[in-house]
């Protein structure tokens, strides 16, 4: 029976891939800056100001409520104008449909709305994204570091910071490929 459900789920995904882009563009217009299908699921790049509204809209969709937050993560693309990204993966458990929302900000002004009012589970994921990328989530109840030491001064996964420990004096670049 499980395989039958799976195939049904895939059909739902295929239907959603056709339906969702038009639906979101009709609801948000210009705020959806890019819509594509990637790895079999729809990907929407949205304007930073519409980020939470789009997620809320999907959360409350009647025929396909996206009520499960799979993941929130960040990305740093230093060559882009809007170089810092937030990516969130949503899952509709009733129809087994997945999608991805991206929004981009800049390192100098990295504020995005928090998803914690919709998903309590966003709390730790947003803290992790803040910890590693320095993205500030407006409305987050406790935006502090979660994995790194509290006294760390940098957001280590941003490209401007070196990966290696800077306190070492005994490793030179020629010998260790640093």
């Amino acid at each position: 029976m499980a395989s039958k459900d799976d195939s049904k789920g895939m059909n739902n995904q295929a239907q959603a891939n056709e339906k969702l882009p038009a639906l979101l563009v009709s609801a948000f217009g210009e705020d959806i800056t890019e819509a594509s299908i990637n790895h079999g699921i729809p990907v929407f790049t949205v304007h930073r100001n519409a980020y939470r509204k789009v997620v809320e809209f999907l959360f409350n969709l009647e025929e396909m409520p996206f009520r499960f937050l799979t993941d929130i993560t960040g990305i740093h693309l230093p060559d882009n104008k809007d170089d810092l990204g937030v990516i969130c993966h949503l899952h509709c458990l009733t129809s087994n449909v997945r999608l991805r929302i991206k929004t981009f900000v800049t390192t100098s002004d990295s504020h995005v709305d928090s998803l914690t009012p919709l998903f309590p589970g966003a709390n730790w994921m947003e803290r992790e994204t803040f910890d590693f990328y320095g993205i500030h989530f407006k409305g987050h109840p406790n935006l502090t570091r979660i994995l790194n030491m509290d006294d760390m001064l940098i957001h280590p996964l941003r490209k401007e910071y070196p990966l290696e420990d800077q306190s070492r004096k005994d490793k030179n670049d020629a010998m260790f490929g640093r």
Binding site: I154, P156, R168
Partner: protein, 182 residues
């Protein structure tokens, strides 16, 4: 007497009918070295190798270390085995601080000794940055034989340590250099 039982060799001294005289330091060293209680601070694969060392094949108990002390207060030897993340560093320090004097530290494996392959922002580049280390055991991870060799090196230090060492200026300065108050 059963000749399979090996007694520890008595230290040098003056022997006569009904008496044996030797240095107190030697006797204390002899007693201490044959009952070193380790505190295993195992965080990764070196810890697994240490379990093999404790197991029946290699049997660390032969060297008087059968009693693992999972409370730092009763431990003589802190064995740090595995990668220590910077966030873990205060924990290692606290465990070391809670141990009663005299205490020794063995750093097992590349990660504990130098950060190993983890040359990265989140990993402590060797535990000797936060606590003084007596013996380093190289390897990634070291084989049980190497761990036993490290323990025997600790035994040498324990046996030959002057009972005044922990009160010396040198030792106080060493502790102060790591930020421990005594």
């Amino acid at each position: 007497m059963n000749n399979k039982i090996q007694l520890a060799k008595a230290p040098d001294g003056v022997e006569g009918a009904g008496f044996f005289a030797t240095r107190l330091d030697d006797v204390i060293g002899l007693a201490r070295k044959n009952s070193v209680w380790p505190l295993p601070f195992a965080t990764s694969c070196c810890g697994i190798e240490f379990m093999a060392t404790m197991g029946a094949n290699y049997d660390l108990a032969r060297y008087g270390s059968e009693r693992m002390s999972f409370s730092p207060r009763q431990a003589d030897l802190l064995m740090v085995m595995g990668t220590i993340a910077k966030k873990m560093a205060p924990v290692v320090r606290q465990v070391y601080e809670q141990m009663a004097e005299p205490k020794w530290v063995l750093s097992m494996g590349a990660c504990a000794s130098s950060g190993g392959i983890f040359d990265t922002y989140s990993v402590l580049q060797g535990i000797d940055r936060i606590i003084p280390v007596d013996v380093y055991v190289p390897g990634c991870p070291p084989r049980p034989e190497q761990v036993i060799d490290g323990i025997l090196k600790i035994h040498e230090l324990v046996a030959n340590e002057s009972s005044r060492r922990r009160y010396s200026e040198d030792y106080k300065n060493l502790m102060a250099s790591y930020g421990f108050e005594r």
